[in-house]
């Protein structure tokens, strides 16, 4: 590229003496690249997300070519609708509150304190988050069901069981988000408060907590989003009595074939999700406001049961121990369903055995393929979905990480950011069913994409894109713009700046993004349950079919298959996270 384009167009350019500083025109290559970076994701989102959703929702509101909004009145006049909406909000609110209450002490213990085995505990805490929702449902069922280890609590099929499963699932979201900030928070602000006479508790309440609030709010809104749109877990645990808007859409669509109700509920969910996203966006922008952050190493202190020598009483050792106790208990509770799942999968009647695992090589009498075949399908589809999600999500993150000088540009970037968060919250069921409706002669073309094997990975990629964006974006945003300026003054053209600065640094987070995308794809159930061809089911679909079937053998196979799926997902995420750690340590 010519030297005339060596300066990024969105940064102020200082002209020579006596000249008015003016941004130079970007070169044609640059224009092409950034246009593609904006257009490709937008087209992808438009065709594979917006269009199916619009078609699906349209089915409910358009009768005989006329807009007919009477469905709203009709659906909202049903007590069932109000009950479901109430349940959704109640479940999500309570689960979010509990996740935050338990997650904040957890973040302190796991990110602000050092102790033997901390990395193992951190990994263990993350496992539930990446577990497929169906597996979480099965694991909780096997724990709470009559005859299970906690069967005496009679929690099977109750509201409490659903909330517990949602907390189980989202604890890691709070711990990771809050811990990540807390780890780098400059402890001297709280120390300044202490020196001004504040007790450890008051210093926490008045100084540390306000600094953490953006991270807590952001994590809480994300948790709320995940809880309000929970599908697989609630479908497995809730039975007929409990549900969310998401499961209700599924029931209305597949059981009652009431597309009008489904469409209304989709809109309701969209409104809830959009509202939460606005709150989350505000919280995030506040978090990215300059906070006094330090290097993690100097902020982290060793955790010991006994008060360290030289530390006076009343200096915060008690609260630290309390936080450690709470966290220890939570970690035990998190491990319980997982351990139980493995144990139960090895029970055959009254004896121990691997019969259920051997049965995975069969169709169990009623499945169309063997479970191993389904696992292979899942992996193949997940690879495709991950590649698509990485390309699309990576481009979105790259575009959104720019900070244009003009207000219009900044607004556009913020809008794009919010737009690509939508798939997190829009009903995967709506997307899945929308695919079925829209991909039959899409846009009037004479093709039927419904039978295409491409559809499943594409649908899963739509769900995974927000995760990729959220993982890569903070890393890109944290790049000091002066690094790019330094590269440019050293003679690097825009292309080389992008390659040598942005992409090189972002590559360190790509490992984790791959892990999350892969996990999301492996576990995706809502959309896949509509789209998977009967002869090519994925593992979660097979598990759901197995638990819906009577008989101890089917149930045993479901447990074994859940263990396989859990091990696959957790293993892949762990490997990806390890990849990231190696990259981060070796390069810088």
């Amino acid at each position: 590229m010519s030297t005339a384009t060596a300066t990024r167009p969105d940064l102020p350019v200082t002209g020579g003496p006596g000249r008015v500083a003016r941004a130079r025109r970007p070169g044609p290559g640059q224009v092409l690249f950034w246009s593609a970076a904006v257009v490709v994701p937008l087209v992808f989102l438009g065709v594979f997300f917006a269009w199916p959703v619009v078609v699906m929702v349209g089915k409910g509101f358009v009768t005989d070519g006329h807009l007919d909004l009477s469905a709203f009145a009709e659906v909202f006049s049903r007590p069932r609708t109000w009950r479901i909406v109430g349940l959704t909000v109640a479940q999500a609110s309570i689960a979010t509150a509990l996740s935050v209450l338990l997650g904040v002490p957890g973040a302190y213990v796991l990110y602000r304190r050092r102790f033997r085995g901390r990395s193992v505990v951190r990994a263990l805490v993350t496992v539930p988050f990446v577990l497929p929702t169906v597996v979480v449902g099965v694991a909780f069922r096997s724990l709470l069901v009559q005859g299970g280890p906690l069967g005496f609590l009679h929690l099977d099929g109750t509201f409490a069981a659903i909330v517990a499963a949602l907390v189980f699932f989202n604890y890691a979201v709070v711990v990771r988000a809050v811990g990540g900030l807390w780890e780098r928070l400059d402890p001297r602000a709280a120390q300044a408060a202490r020196a001004l006479g504040a007790s450890p508790w008051r210093a926490f309440r008045t100084v540390t907590l306000p600094a953490l609030t953006p991270a807590i709010a952001s994590a809480a809104s994300l948790t709320f989003l995940f809880c309000a749109t929970a599908f697989g877990t609630v479908l497995v645990l809730g039975g007929l009595q409990f549900g969310t808007v998401e499961t209700e859409i599924w029931i209305q669509t597949t059981q009652f074939l009431d597309l009008r109700a489904a469409a209304v509920l989709s809109v309701v969910q969209l409104v809830i999700v959009a509202g939460v996203l606005v709150v989350a966006g505000r919280a995030r922008s506040r978090q990215e406001r300059a906070l006094a952050l330090g290097a993690p190493a100097q902020n982290v202190r060793a955790l010991s049961v006994r008060r360290p020598a030289g530390m006076p009483r009343g200096d915060g050792h008690g609260p630290a121990l309390a936080a450690a106790a709470v966290t220890g208990l939570v970690v035990l509770l998190l491990a319980l369903p997982l351990v139980n799942l493995v144990v139960r999968s090895l029970r055959v009647g009254d004896r121990w055995g691997v019969d259920h695992y051997t049965a995975l090589g069969t169709t169990g009498g009623t499945l169309t393929v063997t479970v191993w075949q389904a696992a292979l399908n899942s992996l193949r589809i997940a690879v495709d979905a991950t590649v698509i999600a990485l390309v699309v999500g990576g481009l979105v993150a790259l575009v959104v990480s720019r900070r244009p000088r003009r207000t219009v540009g900044r607004r556009a970037v913020a809008g794009l950011d919010a737009l690509f968060m939508l798939p997190l919250g829009v009903s995967a069921v709506t997307v899945g069913f929308g695919f079925l409706l829209s991909m039959h002669h899409p846009f009037g073309l004479d093709v039927d994409l419904r039978t295409s094997p491409v559809l499943v990975p594409v649908a899963q990629a739509v769900v995974a894109v927000p995760l990729v964006v959220r993982t890569v974006l903070p890393v890109l945003r944290a790049i000091d713009p002066r690094l790019r300026e330094a590269a440019a003054t050293l003679g690097a053209g825009p292309g080389r700046v992008l390659r040598s600065v942005d992409l090189t640094i972002a590559a360190r987070s790509v490992g984790l993004a791959v892990g999350f995308a892969f996990a999301a794809s492996l576990g995706e159930f809502g959309a896949t349950s509509f789209l998977a061809r009967p002869e090519r089911p994925t593992l979660p679909v097979v598990i759901f079919r197995l638990i819906g079937r009577p008989g101890a053998d089917s149930y045993g196979m479901a447990l074994a298959a859940s263990v396989v799926l859990a091990v696959l997902t957790a293993g892949i995420v762990a490997a990806c996270e390890r990849l990231r750690a190696a990259g981060a340590g070796g390069e810088w």
Binding site: L196, A198, S199, W201, P308, G310, P312
Partner: protein
Amino acid sequence: MSAGLVVRDAVVRYGSVTAVDEVSLHVAPGEVVALLGPSGCGKSSLLRAVAGLEPLAGGSVSWDGEPVDGVPVHRRGFGLMFQDGQLFTHRDVSGNVAYGLRTTRLARPSGPRRSGPVDDDRGAPVDGARPVDRARRVDELLELVGLAGYGPRPVATLSGGERQRVALARALAPAPRLLLLDEPLSALDRALRERLAVDLRAVLVATGTTAVFVTHDQDEAFAVADRVAVMRAGRLLQVDAPADLWRRPASRDVAEFLGYEAFVAAGSAAAGPLTRALAGTPDGSVAGTPAGALGRALRDDDVVALAEGAFVVRTDPGAVKGAVQGVTSRRGRTEVRVEVEGIGVVTALAPVGARFDTGTVLPLAVDADALAVLPGDSVRR
């Protein structure tokens, strides 16, 4: 029992690293002591240990004879001011200054209490902490630091110097019995730093505050402190009033840190003009002049230390000659790097505007005020 702060044999360790190694220090009430040393010498660790933010691995800290080792930070009554202020960004200026007034610090009994079961801050406000009193105290302090009327401003709108002034007001508000300052001016640019150092000294004296002040800048230490404690590698090398420290560095380490740039054995031939200049001072035996500092006659194994300006460029033939290595200008004054045989490269002062070519040999006179004598036994290590 000694009044004020007494640190006895304090040891601070981070893992296997010993940051503070058996340091003892006494600060009398109303006194301002500077801890001076290069970065990493342990001065901040010592300050944090006094504040109660780092546990002592050995030794003790006491106030007015009572040990405070078992007293948590917030009950020690020691204020602390950080390098970057650490203002609470979610509070405005007066909210920051008033933060420490919520507790009963103003009504604190003179001795520290052992930890009680109930926190101070939950009880009803006691005298000195009522809202009216608090507002008055905030105004009073803002005026003291020259920021009257800044109360409602958000801290994000303040300049670096204003932030440090607010931090100072905030730290002084609860009237701490000891104020600890951790490089409070280091983040500011030079002109501002010099001006604020003078203001800081004035505020500390006006409020009669006992203070320990950590810095790596000796000009700052000399401007603010009554006494200066020089630290290096975790140890305390010397504690003295600024003038005494400058005139009588206790060791070569101290002298080097203060900026003495050349050291010559008093018995060597090259030291002749220097020792003659020392002897020729108006009263060579009076304490306060270098030779007098020894309290005895100069011996051959004593070492003469030369600061910048120990030589002055003369027009008439001088006793010493130096070859010009380079010329710089500092605040208008010409400084010449000259190589003097037997001494090495030193900085000599020249008249304003003087220019010399490299290699020129200049006649030099000795200025005894820029010389110090280190007793021989302190140099032999």
